[in-house]
């Protein structure tokens, strides 16, 4: 099947990016070098095309009830312009996807503004848009709820501008008062003539914004920022330094079925709301979990990679690596994965089996960088 391409594909080719298939999208993995792109975001600013992320709008009289019942967090706590990190779980409490849910303002500046007329806009991971659209639609029907759910992924482009200089750059590029926005707050504004949803969110640990705009305006918005173009490679190393989960890798309903408590995102679960998976998660909240998501640093030369075994000092298997890299900021090998709860404490000594060699590592609760 042909890969989906983002509206910025020509820009990426002009910058001589290397590409990868990510969730069915042909996306830039690297423009200059992952190390250079990573460093730009930690020290100045970088811009990422994240148009592979899905966008689904939910409107109609039961939009709130439907979204409340399909996400673990409490959407009733959201005021207009608020964003919320949340999980979408199945009946077992297993994470199907993680997402950011936005409650949209009652009025939009124009009809082409992203999410205009919608109560919520939420952002599933790459390649999950059709599945989540189907999930919302079929559950609305099953529960007799009246909601209009639209997969608008192909209508919009999305970029992230991240780094210490990013906030000033976005403030300069728009008429909207973005400096007053707190973390996980968003507003409409115009950037390079495009009606843009400007959210103070991101996946790098740095300050900055994620911007959603009509697909036809993608190149104008991209060109409005004079900073390092960054690919998915740097996005991955940046998020690993923060210990942020990657869908399909750190959790996956088939290959790595995990609940929010195991994945250490229990803060997104509001058991006083009704949602699919609530009862299973309530039970797990009472009983505790057998395994937990952890970070670790490798104390010997090597690079931990997805799928490597984690062991205790006696060589007994205690878990698995789900993500790993050489941290560009620290110059040290770091990893993320699941271990038996008894080994999940900060400072615990464990082993990583790297191509048959057992290497020493230390549990290090993320973020791996200080000051975040």
């Amino acid at each position: 099947m042909a890969l989906r391409t983002p509206p910025l594909h020509d820009r990426h080719e002009a910058l001589d990016a290397s590409f990868t298939d990510f969730g069915g999208w042909e996306m830039p993995v690297e423009f200059d070098s992952i190390r250079a792109e990573h460093e730009a975001v930690r020290t100045a600013a970088g811009i990422f095309d994240v148009s592979h992320m899905g966008e689904i709008t939910v409107s109609g009289p039961d939009a709130e009830r439907l979204t409340q019942r399909l996400t673990t967090n409490d959407v009733t706590a959201l005021g207009p312009g608020d964003a919320q990190y949340s999980m979408i779980t199945d009946e077992r409490g297993v994470i199907l996807d993680d997402t950011v849910v936005y409650r949209m303002p009652e009025t939009a500046p124009s009809a082409d503004a992203p999410g205009s007329d919608a109560t919520f806009l939420f952002v599933p991971n790459a390649g999950h848009d059709a599945q989540m659209h189907e999930r919302w639609t079929s559950h609305a029907e099953q529960w007799g709820l009246t909601a209009d759910v639209v997969n608008v992924t192909d209508d919009y482009g999305m970029v992230a501008v991240q780094g210490p200089d990013a906030t000033a750059m976005v403030a300069e590029a728009t008429d909207a008062d973005v400096l007053d926005l707190g973390r996980f707050e968003a507003t409409y504004g115009t950037i390079a003539g495009a009606s843009t949803w400007i959210a103070r969110t991101g996946y790098t640990g740095e300050g900055g914004f994620e911007l959603i705009f009509p697909a036809d305006d993608a190149e104008a918005v991209w060109d409005a920022f004079d900073c390092q173009a960054c690919g998915l490679g740097a996005r991955d190393t940046l998020r690993m330094e923060m210990g942020f989960l990657l869908s399909g890798q750190d959790f996956d309903p088939t290959d790595q079925p995990r609940t929010p408590y195991e994945a250490r995102v229990g803060f997104t679960v509001k058991l006083d709301t009704e949602f699919v998976g609530r009862d299973a998660l309530e039970q797990q909240a009472e009983e505790g979990v057998d395994e937990k998501f952890v970070g670790f640093t490798l104390n010997e030369r090597g690079v931990p990679r997805h799928g490597y075994e984690l062991a205790n000092e006696d060589g007994e298997s205690i878990g698995v690596v789900t993500s790993g890299t050489m941290s560009p900021t620290l110059g040290e090998p770091i990893g993320l994965g699941y271990v038996e709860t008894a080994y999940a404490e900060d400072g615990e000594r464990i082993r990583v089996v790297v191509r048959g060699d057992t290497k020493q590592a230390t549990i290090t609760t993320p973020p791996f960088l200080e000051g975040y």
């Binding site: 001589d16 690297e30 070098s33 992952i34 190390r35 190393t237 030369r301 690079v303 560009p328």
Partner: protein, 125 residues
């Protein structure tokens, strides 16, 4: 993009080079560019044997792990220990300071199975 392919070296299709004069082995300019930022190198110790066509170590970039294959058979006579602490040398100078190891060839005839510089250059065009 054009890549540096010295004529004085021989190459495997899998992008390793060997200097037939010295037995020094490394990975090509094309290979280091494809891999991106190299962060880890693992090669056998001096005294160990490598066998033509077999993998003898790994070169890891931030994004990928790649086996490296022996262009010839022989005994390892030297290892470039600098690349353990400075693996970026493989990116910066793949035919110079970024070499991996040297071997004493077991059979010089194996060099005939490798690509010349011009043959390798046409392969990566």
């Amino acid at each position: 993009m054009s890549f540096d392919v010295p004529d004085t070296l021989n190459y495997r299709e899998s992008h390793e080079w060997i200097d037939p004069e010295t037995g020094r082995i490394g990975i090509s300019d094309f290979a280091q560019d494809e891999l991106g930022d190299i962060v880890f190198v693992e090669v056998p110790d001096v005294g160990e044997a490598i066998e033509a066509g077999e993998d003898f170590g790994v070169v890891e970039s931030i994004k990928a792990v790649s086996d490296v294959y022996a262009p010839v058979s022989g005994e390892v006579t030297a290892v470039n220990e600098r690349v353990f602490d400075e693996p970026e040398l493989v990116n910066d100078d793949p035919y110079g300071d970024g070499w991996l190891l040297e071997v004493e060839l077991a059979d010089e005839g194996e060099l005939d199975d490798l690509l010349s510089g011009s043959e390798y250059a046409s392969q990566i065009e």
